[in-house]
């Protein structure tokens, strides 16, 4: 078993799916069975994935806990480590530490409606939340998803997302899609298919399409920093209370365990380490932690 918390654990890649030109979905299986069985996590937590001799990068687990003992990661080729991971093949070894971070408090949300809002890579952790909520469908009220993409080619988890889009009612989820590229024929086709669920525009434009969220709704956001500002403006217009808005943040990270200092945010009054105090925070946290969003 693991003694040194900084020691990477061995895992094998069992599946690779190319999702876009720069993103791959990578499935791994932890080598040490005991470790794999004890590996329990909540959506929104992350792992530092590494390649020996290259380094490590924090990556969200994009599934909800399942019996397969396999973990999925949607990885964008953004630099040294992620590029090295992209070069690996099925059967190759990767190294992981974790799970780290607080994750989304799925138990707090029980008995409430969920409004999930995702843009870009932010869909990775949000997908875990959605899977979890659908696996435990009876515990949650209405579930709506707003997903914004630039164009069809850049849409992540296409099969899943199109399934939710088309068969959402069967799964128990209202799935809304926005696309930024006006010329995108496939997305245009989807908008023709369900004009109440798909439109050209930003993810925040989808607020026009949804029913007014009930008072007992939790909003859960994943996306690039710029998206938070605009999404929060919309949520505030709908009178969301700040403790009912959750989001997951990105920062530079080296250790993942609150030691290396890279992911620091806040002021003398409100210092937080995104790796261990987050990466999931509420809007109330953000209002009290300058520089968080």
């Amino acid at each position: 078993m693991k003694v040194n918390p900084l020691e990477p654990m061995k895992a094998k890649i069992t599946e690779i799916e190319t999702m876009t030109e720069i993103e791959k979905l990578i499935t791994i299986k932890l080598h040490d069975r005991e470790y794999a069985e004890s590996f329990s996590y909540t959506p929104g937590q992350f792992v530092t994935l590494g390649v020996m001799g290259v380094g490590e990068a924090p990556i969200s687990i994009c599934t909800a806990q399942n019996d397969e003992l396999e973990l999925e990661f949607c990885i964008r080729n953004a630099g040294r480590v992620t590029n090295a991971i992209h070069k690996l093949k099925v059967g190759d070894t990767v190294w992981g530490r974790g799970p780290y971070g607080n994750g989304f408090p799925m138990d707090v949300y029980e008995g409430n409606d969920l409004l999930l809002i995702a843009g870009g890579l932010g869909i990775a952790p949000i997908r875990g939340v959605l899977q979890y909520a659908l696996q435990n469908r009876e515990k949650y009220g209405d579930i709506s998803v707003l997903y914004g993409v630039r164009c069809y080619d850049l849409m992540l988890f296409k099969d899943d997302m199109l399934d939710y889009f088309r068969n959402g009612d069967r799964h128990g989820v209202k799935f809304y899609l926005s696309y930024e590229d006006k010329e995108d024929q496939v997305c245009y086709g989807l908008a023709c298919e369900r004009d109440d669920r798909c439109m050209h525009g930003m993810v925040t434009d989808l607020f026009k399409k949804i029913d007014r969220p009930s008072k007992k709704t939790y909003a859960i956001i994943g996306g690039p920093p710029i998206m938070y500002k605009f999404t929060i403006m919309q949520l505030e217009k709908l009178n969301f209370r700040p403790e009912r808005v959750y989001m997951t943040l990105e920062r530079r990270m080296r250790c993942g365990v609150g030691q290396c200092g890279h992911c620091i945010v806040g002021t003398g009054k409100s210092i937080k380490y995104v790796c261990k105090d987050g990466p999931v925070f509420t809007l109330w946290d953000a209002m009290n932690t300058k520089g968080m969003i």
Binding site: L6, M52, G79, C260, T267, G268
Partner: protein, 338 residues
């Protein structure tokens, strides 16, 4: 707390006995302005009249650069480097630095205990010594001018002898095995100790009001102070390296020429360097010196939400090439200086 008295006439025997525990490190004058904790060959090298070393004693527990794993790609192994078994004595550590180590221990031993830190702590013997503040010291403001714990023995200069506080079982064992060096403390010794402490406390010339500082830092988030000092800052990172409380580190994988073996190295890092807040895609959360210096002072304001992260040692002021004065900046944040 157990207390003993050590006559100054026994000083050399005392230092000799310390050397039996392990390699002895103490402050040595290395140049006109710089003292350094160095391994001691001869008693005369030790300079206990020093004010501060340039590099704080954190270097003994978190090395400036150290291998945390060796790896072998073919064999698919990460191997922890052998821990080492050398025992060290740190002689002549000041209260501020002991308090800084106590805070550092919170980061490296609570929650996820860092094995490297713990092992080194286990194999060390810390002897504190009282000091006389200079114009840069403000540890009485940060509440760190007195060390309550985090040492084996603490020596207070009371004239002809040292008033010795025993801070740990290890310290007690040392005294028990060297009974001839120590005398029992009499009331007069306690009185001299209190006198010496009072004198030390009265001799501070530098001061920083701490009450409410964390709130004031929060309110000063958009203050001009950060632009003013950000413009002066050279971004060299010295203030981080000399700070006994700074603990940021970076991690690098170094691969050997055989392209098979290598090392994962952890090394001291600085929040004043531009890459500290940079993420993939080129976005930087602290893009200019303004945001970086603001972050540094806010981090100094609080390790977590309840603890100042500065022990008032004055190093960052003394060694800043741009002459940025820590206390002056905080006074501007408070509004005491315009």
């Amino acid at each position: 707390m157990l207390v003993k008295v050590l006559a100054k006439s026994s000083f050399s025997s005392f230092v000799g006995a310390l050397g039996d525990y392990g390699d002895l490190y103490a402050p040595v004058k290395t140049s006109e302005k710089v003292h350094s904790f160095k391994e001691i060959e001869s008693l005369t090298d030790i300079d206990l009249s020093y004010t501060r070393t340039m590099i704080p004693p954190k270097k003994f527990f978190i090395h400036p650069e150290e291998v945390i794993f060796e790896f072998n790609i073919d064999e698919e192994l990460y191997i922890e480097p052998p821990g080492g078994d050398e025992r060290i004595v740190l002689f002549g550590v000041h209260s501020c630095d002991i308090n800084a180590l106590n805070l550092l221990a919170k980061v490296f031993t609570e929650e996820l205990p860092d094995k490297y830190y713990l092992e080194r702590k286990e194999r060390s013997f810390i002897v504190g010594v009282s000091c006389v503040p200079d114009e840069y010291c403000f540890c009485h403001s940060t509440g760190t001018s007195y060390a309550q714990e985090g040492f084996e023995l603490f020596l207070h200069d009371i004239g002809d002898s040292y008033f010795v506080r025993v801070g740990s079982l290890k310290g007690h064992e040392f005294i028990a095995t060297h009974p001839s060096l120590f005398e029992a403390a009499e009331q007069s010794h306690y009185d001299s100790f209190k006198d010496a402490e009072r004198k030390m406390y009265a001799s501070f010339t530098n001061e920083l009001e701490m009450a409410g500082l964390q709130d004031l830092l929060d309110m000063a988030y958009e203050s001009e102070v950060w632009t003013e000092y950000g413009d002066k800052c050279l971004g060299c990172g010295s203030c981080n390296l000399v700070c006994p409380r700074c603990r940021c580190y970076d991690v690098e994988d170094h691969i050997n020429l055989d392209l098979n073996t290598g090392e994962r190295v952890r090394k001291w890092y600085s929040c004043m360097l531009s890459e500290h807040g940079l993420v993939a895609g080129g976005h930087n959360f602290r893009p200019t010196a303004r945001e970086r210096i603001r972050n540094r002072f806010n981090c100094k304001g609080s390790l977590r939400e309840d603890m100042p992260n500065c022990v008032g040692c004055g190093r960052c002021t003394v060694f800043c090439p741009a002459e940025i004065d820590y206390v002056e900046v905080m006074k501007k944040v408070r509004g005491d200086l315009k």
